[in-house]
């Protein structure tokens, strides 16, 4: 249960990061971010991959949706004492998130050659939620 609380907190933190990046996008200002040879938030966020393909919606807006659903799932799993259905849904949802994160990391490293720190924080939170959602081996008391 404590792990689900961690997932809930991670989802809320991810929601905050996504809202910040979306606000920065629409305000037309640069996010607070160090710039060096490897890190450049502006290069990543202002690239063609900074928006959902074929739209002007920033990728971070999709992050808001994903983290909001993740927070809701973590809360439901927490309240339902890990009911199998909700746990499976959480695992599937977080797996979708993790695959998307891997694609975004591919774009950052291979296509753009720059990493966005804020994005990386959100990516790490997605990974954390996925790890919490993984089915765990349990010990049970059995009669000898």
């Amino acid at each position: 249960m404590r792990l689900q609380l961690l997932a809930l907190l991670a989802a809320v933190a991810g929601l905050g990061v996504s809202i910040y990046l979306t606000a920065v996008h629409f305000a037309g200002v640069q996010p607070a971010c160090p710039v060096n040879a490897a890190i450049n938030c502006e290069q990543v966020l202002s690239s063609s991959y900074g928006v959902v393909a074929g739209s002007s919606v920033p990728t971070s807006a999709a992050g808001i949706l994903w983290f909001a659903v993740s927070a809701a799932l973590a809360a439901v799993v927490l309240l339902s004492h890990s009911a199998p259905l909700w746990s499976r849904l959480q695992l599937a949802w977080s797996a979708i998130g993790l695959v998307t994160v891997l694609f975004l990391v591919y774009l950052e490293i291979v296509r753009l050659g720059a990493v966005c720190v804020w994005c990386s924080v959100a990516h790490a939170l997605v990974l954390l939620i996925f790890l919490v959602a993984l089915p765990r081996q349990r010990e049970s008391r059995v009669d000898a």
């Binding site: 040879a37 450049n40 290069q43 993790l98 891997l102 990391v105 591919y106 490293i109 291979v110 753009l112 050659g113 720059a114 990974l127 996925f130 790890l131 993984l134 089915p135 765990r136 081996q137 349990r138 010990e139 049970s140 008391r141 059995v142 009669d143 000898a144």
Partner: protein, 279 residues
Amino acid sequence: MSKQPASKRPRPMRKPVSRTPAWVTPVAVVAAIALVVGGFLLIRWYTTPQALAPLKPDAAQLVVNSLTALPAAELDAIGQGSANNLLKPVSGTALTGPSGKPLVFYFGAEYCPYCAAERWAIIVALSRFGTFSGLKTTSSSSSDIYPNTPTFTFHGSTFTSQYIDFQAVETTDRNQNALETPTGSQQALVNQYDTGGSIPFVDFGNRYVFAGATYLPDVLAGMSWQAVADALAQPDSTQAKAVLGSANLVTAAVCRLTGDQPSSVCTSSSIQAIEKKLG
């Protein structure tokens, strides 16, 4: 010795369902992801073009000659090509150069890949109004995005024209060491019109400005200077559509400054069409 009551059952024992410890799966997932990210870094390293040694002056001049010899018909046929029109009209005091002619002012840096891309277009375009000399080849930074984009530098070059004046400031070299400092009036232009701080920044006589590159530098990735020049001679090439399209945008903005002079350049159908879009 006392015997235990027969009714007392043995204490239940904790017995694992599986022998796999609980931490194994998460650690395996993290390790797999680390491997995938390592693979991405490897791909990046393998596909990053290497910096080429700058050409000797004679060889560089041959490339410049190729650029200035591009047929007008090809430029006309390409029009805006695949370039993005970043030109914005502004209404400042008319900007003139030392000789009193309309001034085109460029502000950039040698490390900057977007400047590297845009210089090709500026050289092609301005060469239709005058002559560059002393252009040297260089590449953008090896450690920035679009690394080692082949280009020229305006540092140490001169431009002569009967129609316009051209001033360029390259603030740093490709390793980001200080190179040139803008004058107070040049810095004032940057402060006034390049509020986003993007480079390259180009001011066309205070009538039009643009900041950033009108096409992405990856169009030139991994190419030598001569290979770029050869590609520009092929109207169907990706490079020609991007660079020459951008050059036509620059040409149209300059034509607005010169009152459509020379007419051999400015009255072409594609330049006229772009001029109408400029506002």
